[in-house]
Symmetry: C2
Subunit: 366 residues, 2 copies
Amino acid sequence: MRIERAVNNPIISPLQVKPSTDDMVVLSAFNAAATETKEGILLLIRVAEAPKQTEREIRVPIAKNDNVIIKSFRRDDPLLIAGDPRGIVYADEIYLTSLSHFRVARSTDGFNFKIDDKPSIFPTEYYESYGIEDPRITKIGDTYYINYTAVSHFGVTVALITTKDFKHFKKHGVILPPENKNVAIFPEKIGGKYMMLHRPSTTGLGNQHIWVGSSPDMLHFGDHRPVFSKRPHSWDNVRVGAGAVPIKTSEGWLEIYHGVNSKLGYCLGAILLDLNEPWRVLARSKYPFLIPETEYERNGFYNNVVFTCGALTFYDNGRHVVNVYYGAADQHTCRADIFCDDILASLSTDDISEVMENTAEINIMG
Amino acid sequence: MRIERAVNNPIISPLQVKPSTDDMVVLSAFNAAATETKEGILLLIRVAEAPKQTEREIRVPIAKNDNVIIKSFRRDDPLLIAGDPRGIVYADEIYLTSLSHFRVARSTDGFNFKIDDKPSIFPTEYYESYGIEDPRITKIGDTYYINYTAVSHFGVTVALITTKDFKHFKKHGVILPPENKNVAIFPEKIGGKYMMLHRPSTTGLGNQHIWVGSSPDMLHFGDHRPVFSKRPHSWDNVRVGAGAVPIKTSEGWLEIYHGVNSKLGYCLGAILLDLNEPWRVLARSKYPFLIPETEYERNGFYNNVVFTCGALTFYDNGRHVVNVYYGAADQHTCRADIFCDDILASLSTDDISEVMENTAEINIMG
C-alpha cells in the first residue's frame, strides 16, 4: 500500500507559532483537527506551551480564567517526581509540564499554512485548567462541532465547543465524564441520533475499549456500546484510540485510529464499521499503514508517535484520496496521502473478535 | 446524634434467600434499593451467588443470556491470583467470584420482609455478564427508574431499567461508560433536567470525585460537573460514593453517601447540596453518623462495611425521619433510623472546599 508523506513535512513547526505571551515558549504544534471552510482548508492546531524554566526550578503552567498561573518546584525537592516529559508528580498531585490551547491555521493548497498570531481557543474553564488537547472537528449543517480533551485536576474529560465561523466559539461544558479521550463524532446522524466513538480509560476491567455513544442533541450521550479494543500480539496491543472523523464509504464507516505497540510506538491503522450499526466491526488493519519512521516522527517532545485528529478526503480522477493530517512525535504537524480504496483493500476480517459476540468465546475454557 | 439500628438487624440474611438454581449458593443479600409502592415498602436486594466450589478448583460464574456459565481454575495453577474474596485474576483477566442479581422483597412495616423465591432481574445482557450490582430506585411520576452497576469484561458501567409494577422490567442499556458506579438519581427534575450523582474512577487525575450529570430524557447524560471528593485526613479520605436517592429538605438536597477510611472501613455520612444548583456543596459531615461497629457490620463477606443504596423518609409527630436501609459487611441487609434535622444540624461548613472554586487554592503554592 502506497502512502505519501508530504515533501514539505513537517508542514507546521512550533517555530512558526507565536507564543501566547512573552513568558511562554511554544514546545509543540501538533494533533490538529482538520476541516474545510469557504476559504479553504482549516487546521485547528494544538499548541503546547511551557513557562521559561530556571536551573533551580521546574515551572509548570495552570490556566485560570484568562490567565496562566505558574507553579514552581525546586528540582532538588524530594517530594518531586520528574522524568516524563509530559508531567510531574509533587506530593501525590499530578501537574502537566505544558499547557495546550488551539490555534487556527489556514491554507488553500493543504500544504502551506498561515497560522494565526493569537490563540483561537484558550483554556478558560475550571475543567480546562491543565489545558485543552487533541481537537476533532465534525461539520454538520452549518455548525462545526469541536470536541476535545479537557484536562484539569478533576480529570481527563471530553468537552464540546461549537462555531460557525472560527471567530466566535461557544463552550458547552463536559460531555463525557473522566476518564475519557479520543472522541470522533460521525459526520451525520445514524438512526436519528448523533454518534461518537470514545475511549474511556479504566482501572481494571474493560480498559482500552473504544465505545460508541449516541445523542439526540450532541450535548447528552447515552446507549454506550463497546466496539473494539487493543489486540494481543498485534501492532495495537497496548492501547487504541479513535483518530479522524469517520469517513463514509460504500462499504462502511472507515475510521483511522491509532494503535500503540511497545516496540513501534504510536501507529495509524483503520477499522471498518457498519454504516447503520457502527458498533459492528466489519474489518480491521492487520498492519498499520503509518509507522513512526522519519526523523521528525521518531524524535521530538515524545518519541515515536504518529497520531491523527483529522483527515480530509477528495476525489482525484475518480479515486477517493485521504489527506491524513497527523502529529509527529508530539511536536510537529505533518501530512500523508493515501487512497481510500487501498486502505479498504488492506483491511482484514481476521481477528476482529473483540466485539460483543466475544463473550461467546469465554465458554471455551469453562 | 442518635441513630437507631433496627432491633431485628440484620433484617434480611442470605439464609432467607432461595438460590436461583440448585448449582448456586447464596453468599449475600445486601445493598438494597428502597421504594414505596401501593402495597407497602419494597426493597430490591442485590443477591450475590457463587457456584459450589471444589477442593481442587476455584469456580467462578459468568452470565450469558439466561444461563450461568461456570469457569474453573485449578487452585494450584501458577497463573491464578486469588485472595480477594471479591475476585480473582487469571492470565491477566479479572473474574468475579460471585454473580449478583436483584430480588424483590416486600414489607408492610419496614422490618419484616417477604422475599421473592426467584430473581426479579437477572443479568442477561453482554454488559452484565459479571453481574448487576447496587441498585437505586428513583420514582418519578408512575415510573420507577432503577439504576445499577453493570459489570462485564467491557468494564464497570452504569445501566438503567424502568418498571411500573416490579413485574415487567425494561432494560435501557448503558447510560454511563466505564468506569463508573454509585449513581443516585434525583427524585425530580432540576432546572428542567433529570440529574444524577455519579462517581467515575480514573487512573490518575481527578480520581474519586463525585460528579453531577443532567439529562433531558433519563437516557442521555451530559453537562457533567464535579461536586465533591474524598478529603485527606478525614473519615472519607480513601473513596466516596453517592448512596441513597437525594432527600429534598428545605435547606437543600441531603445526600447520604459512603466514605471509606483505611481504619474505619466503609462509613455513612451526608452532604447538603444546593436545591437548584446541586453541584454546589453547602455543608458536609465532619464525622460519619454510621460506622461499622456491630458484629454483622464488622464481619462478613467483606469486613467493616456499611453501605446504603436506599433510604425512605416519613413524618413522625412532625419530625422528618429517615429509614436508612444498608448493606452490612457485603453480606446482610440492615436498617437504621435517624432524624433528618439531626443530620442537618450535624453538618459542617468547614472543609467543603473540594468544589470548583478549589482551583483558586492552587495559586498559594505558586
